[in-house]
Amino acid sequence: MTELAKPGRGVKRPYSLLALFIMLVLVIIVGVWIGSVDIPFMTTLKILLSRLPFVNITPAWEDSLAVIILESRLPRVMLAGIVGAALSMAGATYQGLFHNPLADPYLLGIAQGAALGAVIGFMFPGQGNLVPLFAFAGALLSVAIVYALAGRGMSLTTLVLAGVALGAFLGAIVSFLTITSGQTMRGILFWLSGSLALSQWSEFEIVLPVVLVGGILLILFSRHLNIMQLDEAQAKALGVNVEKERMFLIIIATMITAASVSFTGIIGFVGIIIPHAVRLIWGPDYRFLLPLSFLSGAIFLILADLVARTVGPGEIPIGVITALCGAPFFLYLLHHNVKAIL
């Protein structure tokens, strides 16, 4: 056989996975270290390490520091990480399934559905913990309605249009309810702009399994996700059962988005920017795109939250930070890859 040009990509992807994983661990440590109370780096490290199995460190720090690290900062950092990972993977999946670079996890009306659920949750006085549950239900319900409205054998365009229309409708109800809500308005607005301020371990413990199981399923289907980026006729000719698998993957992506949104509110931008950045750097193969998006999304949102809670006098909404930091970086990537995008 004659010498063939090597089909390959510039950046070695398995090494990148390892490098990003190490970076994630470092970012978690830094995220836990920095905060409004100054804690020495070594103390932070020791407190974290003392929690690992088989590590014996005699506590030589005040209990209050351990509480700050382990009960306040660590759950927040971990929740930021898992939510960033979830939104990035869901965004990547939606973009592939809908052949649409502008698709984000909220494409099918999830955001407005979750928002309506949350607003209704806020209306039960003193029942703050109903909000996540209602938001989750609202998110799933809106996607289900979109799917039902678009009908069987619908085209992708119909589905997206149904999502946009339902989103607008639900959004109007949310605005109306918010304005007429009186005292609870502040809480609602806070939730709508997305926040990790009230993170707890209990929330992380709910989101983590959903995102991990969903993420693994998406990754397992990633070769078919690659093929579904072709048109439907080609995907079928290559043996993919398009309608069934598309629905299955939308359900998975919706689940992990809904689980994230219900605790943190609507955090925009991550789900669009991270998958595109990953695609531009490492290529479009979903078998790498999804795990790389998981890690990059986690790192990005932990850093964004770190900035959000440390830079200003009070807390800055995290959506502001994701857009402020993410957009220039993305524009830079875009500028250097114009040809690839076209």
Binding site: L4, R223, I227, D231, L238, L342
Partner: protein
């Protein structure tokens, strides 16, 4: 090897009938050509042959078994397709696209093995596009993309290959290369090839059997010299032309004559 039998099929889009009562049989080792004017139903028949649309009546049998009874995956191991306007994502490399042809032979959670890579490389080599392997789809020309999709169909390793205007974007050299390759696959490996073609001369040169369609019905079918005659060309296409045997291989050859269409009256 594989035979394709089409028995009295009717095909419709949203109840609008576009193909009526079409029957033919394609044998292993043969190239069958669907020809006819724009909108005569060529592409629609190709679509039915890989179950993108289902006949409203009539049957399609692959190796004697109804096409509806194959699973999507089984069908893809049996039939590969080169569509007329394939949409390909621009960031994938040509090689990655060709490798997708191995999908029906793999379990859902498998990765491509050594052999799959070997087959994909060989397919690109056969089509003569090895050098395109690392290039992104977004950088390729229409003709190059057409070759990538043909290589993918070869990598799929099926006994039936369907092609819809496979040479529409190719220059004359490429055209002959690709069609020679298909002829070799048919003769050498007994692959059943069915393609829709615009170009009557290419159809005459390469097809063992020609099915001439007009307004969704078969106007005439048979060997090239039976179907492509001055009379049928005038009847179906309306334009005047002379048809004569090719000086080298006696296949019918069509040369249009200027000033003979309805427009010139």
């Amino acid at each position: 090897m594989a035979t394709v039998e089409v028995q009295n099929i009717h095909l419709a889009y949203d109840k609008m009938l576009v193909v009526e009562d079409v029957s033919f049989k394609a044998e292993s080792g043969d190239i069958s050509g669907l020809i006819g004017p724009n909108g005569s139903g060529k592409s629609t028949i190709i679509k039915a042959l890989y179950r993108l649309i289902t006949p409203s009546s009539g049957k399609i049998l692959l190796d004697g078994r109804n096409i509806g009874n194959y699973s999507q995956k089984e069908l893809a191991t049996m039939v590969s397709v080169v569509p007329q306007f394939p949409l390909l994502p621009s960031l994938f490399t040509a090689y990655e696209i060709v490798l997708m042809g191995r999908n029906p032979h793999m379990g859902l959670f498998d990765w491509e093995g050594r052999e799959d890579h070997l087959i994909a490389r060989r397919a690109m080599e056969m089509v003569g596009i090895s050098t395109l392997a690392p290039r992104r789809i977004g950088e390729l020309s229409g003709g190059e993309i057409q070759c990538v999709v043909i290589a993918r169909a070869l990598a799929q390793g099926t006994r039936i290959i369907l092609l819809d205007e496979p040479t529409s974007n190719l220059d004359i050299g490429r055209e002959v290369e690709v069609l020679d390759l298909l002829k070799k696959l048919a003769r050498g490996k007994g692959v059943t090839i069915i393609m829709a073609l615009h170009d009557l001369n290419l159809a005459a040169q390469y097809c063992d059997q020609i099915i001439l369609l007009n307004k969704g019905r078969i106007y005439k079918s048979g060997q090239p010299e039976e179907v492509i005659t001055g009379r049928t060309v005038k009847d179906i296409y309306g334009a005047g032309s002379i048809v004569f045997p090719h000086p080298l291989n006696k296949k019918p050859t069509v040369i249009p004559v200027a000033g003979t269409s309805r427009m010139s009256e």
